[in-house]
């Protein structure tokens, strides 16, 4: 088995989420790490990175996915996430600020 690609420490945004991978003819679930990061020096973009535990996946090799967002795109995403969270909260009695797994939201890279 390959080692993890992404770091996991106290500054990782989420070290335990539920993820899935789907392709033509396959679909698998696995725990996932999701992290938001910016460069330490003069950041000019936001990186969103995702890795599913490779030990639980047979259909794809060990890997992590990354997308880069401009600050404006990151804000658009944040707005959409906030609006979606509001809809979920409105539909249930979830207490604001509690994440699905009880993990604390981190703050990107140290």
């Amino acid at each position: 088995m390959a080692d993890r690609i992404l770091k996991a420490n106290a500054f990782t945004t989420f070290d335990l989420l539920e993820g899935s991978v789907e392709g033509h003819g396959f679909a698998e679930d696995a725990p996932a790490v999701l992290n938001v990061r910016t460069a330490r020096r003069d950041p000019d973009e936001v990186t969103l990175e995702l890795e599913l535990d490779n030990v639980d996946l047979e259909s794809v090799p060990a890997h992590a996915d990354r997308v880069t967002l401009s600050s404006s795109e990151a804000r658009t995403l944040a707005t959409e996430l906030r609006a979606a969270a509001d809809r979920v909260d409105a539909a249930s009695d979830t207490v604001e600020g509690e994440t699905a797994d009880g993990a604390d939201p981190g703050g990107g890279e140290p």
């Binding site: 080692d3 996991a8 106290a10 725990p31």
Partner: protein
């Protein structure tokens, strides 16, 4: 453009930080301006002080660098006394009590709960016996590692103690090497065991022999660019250089100068020597070293002695540590004592120092496996020494599961870790001792437990590697470990294969029990665990064992990272007394 840390270092770094430390100490923690704290905490590292994690503001970890882990009993006693007096916090540790010292994997000593107000007195006490915290952390020459029994070991190639003393004196407080792009870790090995663990250091001098003018000359081959951190482990690479003992300082100066000038100051993640070696290749390192940093013509590498390396090598035919009784060159003995996870109560540290004194020992050694050695025990005193009550706790002949464990600091104090480590490893070791049969012939079995993907417990080079993670169990998020198998050093070092992900912390002992059961049943003759793993492919390794809940109970399974201190009665972040004054009482706030 330089990083933020580089700008801070340009403003103030190195020996001058001492004056600032003394000023803040006399004026109190709150005199450090809030908007300058990140910068000052970064600079304090050069003098061995690390600010502790969230919830423990105003407390520091203090690291004392002891070259090759070597100390006198007097120095050890001073460490114990400083720990007893100053390394106490608002809450005791349930396993180790009120005050304790940690022996680290780089043969240094760490104390926790240090108040900045006490630092000048601590420095004075340490310096009165020749100890120092200078460059114990920060971007410079760190503590030099090697076998603490150099010169005493009956079985060694070159006594490296005079060489290491010389390097230590030259490169501590030396303005030319004060401010490097990142830490610079050096190992000097003169024994046949490979006890310097040079493969995981930025610069390694490894024992070698070379024919020169018809004579066989004893010296060192040089390797550079090893290290385990940043999820990018590398073993040091051979740059085809042989070095006579008298030339070690010149080559060491050249290579650290090369790193100072060419290391990446624009990206701290990329700043270690290993990445420069990746980029340049060993040949270019050698050619630039020759062209710009050393006057004498470099000799090509000699014949190495790696075949005999057994230190942390997972061999079935030799111990992988210094625990036990060994003969010295002079006919006396050195006795290696097992210190589980490297942590010793301050009172025990003092008692050990007194004991060493009483037996006329002049050498204490801290090893890279977080254990301690007492040297110079006379033949006629040996059996009496071995009967000393303190050696029941710190045994030269411990149960195999109480012997081979290393753990990092963990969520108790560290801001990176995501799981509890040292106390958990103690509980694991006790449970394994009480519940799991030791496979026949196994005397030391190395479990390295690290709290996150940083590698402070060297998780990639152990029989069993545990690395902190999270998982869900019965609907709750719980602390967990990724599990790796079969790593180790030796002639042909190898990083662990990662086999399991997110094993709940309370199912790890069951996993190890099942794994050892399979090993015992399926191994061939006296095959070591490491070679048993090496002989199997990925799928076979995954099938060796399953995690299992057992009678082991874990009282700290929930998210210790979110506590202010995991062992406080009210551990919630809001219950933290920090920041506090030297009396552990909360400092007054503005509102």
């Amino acid at each position: 453009m330089p990083t933020k840390v580089e700008r801070w270092k340009d403003e103030a770094y190195g020996t001058e930080i001492r004056d600032h430390l003394e000023r803040f100490a006399s004026e109190g923690f709150q005199s450090i301006p809030e908007d300058e704290r990140d910068a000052w905490f970064e600079r304090f590292k050069w003098w061995g002080l690390y600010h502790q994690r969230k919830g423990q503001e105003s407390y520091f970890m203090l690291r004392i660098g002891t070259p090759m882990g070597r100390m006198t009993p007097e120095q050890l006693r001073t460490v114990g006394e400083v720990a007893r007096e100053y390394a106490t916090g608002p809450v005791d540790n349930p396993e180790f009590g009120e005050a304790y010292a940690d022996f680290t994997t780089r043969q240094s000593i760490q104390l926790h709960w240090i108040d900045i107000e006490d630092v000048p007195d601590i420095f004075e006490e340490l310096e009165s016996v020749g100890l120092s915290t200078m460059q114990a952390c920060g971007d410079s020459w760190r503590n030099i590692v090697g076998s603490p029994v150099a010169g005493r070991d009956a079985d060694e190639h070159v006594d490296v103690w005079p060489i290491v003393r010389d390097l230590h004196d030259r490169f501590k407080g030396n303005d030319l090497y004060t401010n490097l792009p990142r830490k610079w870790k050096v190992a000097v090995t003169g024994d046949y065991r490979g006890a310097g663990q040079g493969d995981i250091n930025d610069l390694a001098f490894e024992p070698a022999v070379k024919e020169l003018d018809g004579e066989s000359v004893e010296g060192f081959n040089v390797r550079v660019g090893g290290g385990l951190a940043r999820k990018e482990p590398r073993f040091a690479r051979d740059i085809d250089v042989f070095c006579r003992p008298e030339n070690v300082p010149a080559v060491a100066a050249g290579l650290s100068g090369l790193f100072r000038d060419y290391g990446d100051r624009e990206d701290r993640f990329n700043a270690r020597m290993k990445f420069l070696v990746d980029e340049w290749g060993p040949e270019k390192v050698r050619s630039v070293l020759q062209a710009k940093y050393v006057d004498d013509e470099l000799l090509t590498a000699g014949e190495d002695l790696r075949e005999g390396y057994d230190y942390n090598a997972g061999r079935a035919d030799a111990p992988g540590d210094y625990v036990g009784v060994y003969e010295q060159r002079d006919g006396q003995h050195f006795v290696g004592l097992s210190v589980l996870v490297g942590r010793m109560a301050a009172e025990d540290v003092i008692e050990l120092a007194d004991l060493a004194d009483a037996y006329d020992s002049s050498m204490i050694g801290l090893t890279q496996r977080q254990n301690v050695i007492v040297g110079d025990i006379a033949d006629e005193d040996l059996s009496e020494f071995l009967e000393e009550p303190l050696l029941e706790e710190y045994s030269p002949d411990p149960h195999p599961f109480m012997r081979g464990s290393i753990a990092c600091t963990g969520t108790e104090y560290c801001s990176l870790s995501i799981v509890e480590t040292k106390n958990r490893m103690v509980r694991y070791a006790r449970w394994l001792r009480d519940n799991v049969p030791v496979p026949e012939g196994v005397e030391d079995f190395h479990i390295h437990l690290s709290g996150c993907t940083a590698s402070c417990a060297q998780p990639q080079i152990a029989d069993i590697s545990l690395r902190g993670m999270k998982t869900r169990k019965d609907g709750d998020a719980v602390e967990a470990f990724d599990v790796g198998l079969g790593g180790g050093l030796g002639e042909n070092p190898r990083f662990a294969d990662w086999i399991e992900m997110r094993v709940p912390a309370d199912e790890v002992p069951g996993y190890i029990a099942n794994l050892l059961g399979t090993y015992e049943a399926e191994r061939e003759d006296s095959e070591s665990f490491r070679s048993f793993v090496a002989d199997r492919d990925e799928d076979e390794l995954a099938d060796l064992a399953e995690p299992e809940a057992t009678s082991y109970e874990d009282p700290y399974l929930a998210n210790t990272k979110m506590t202010w201190y995991p062992y406080a009665e009210d551990d919630s972040m809001s219950a933290s007394p920090a920041p506090t004054g030297p009396n552990d009482e909360p400092l007054p706030t503005d509102d």
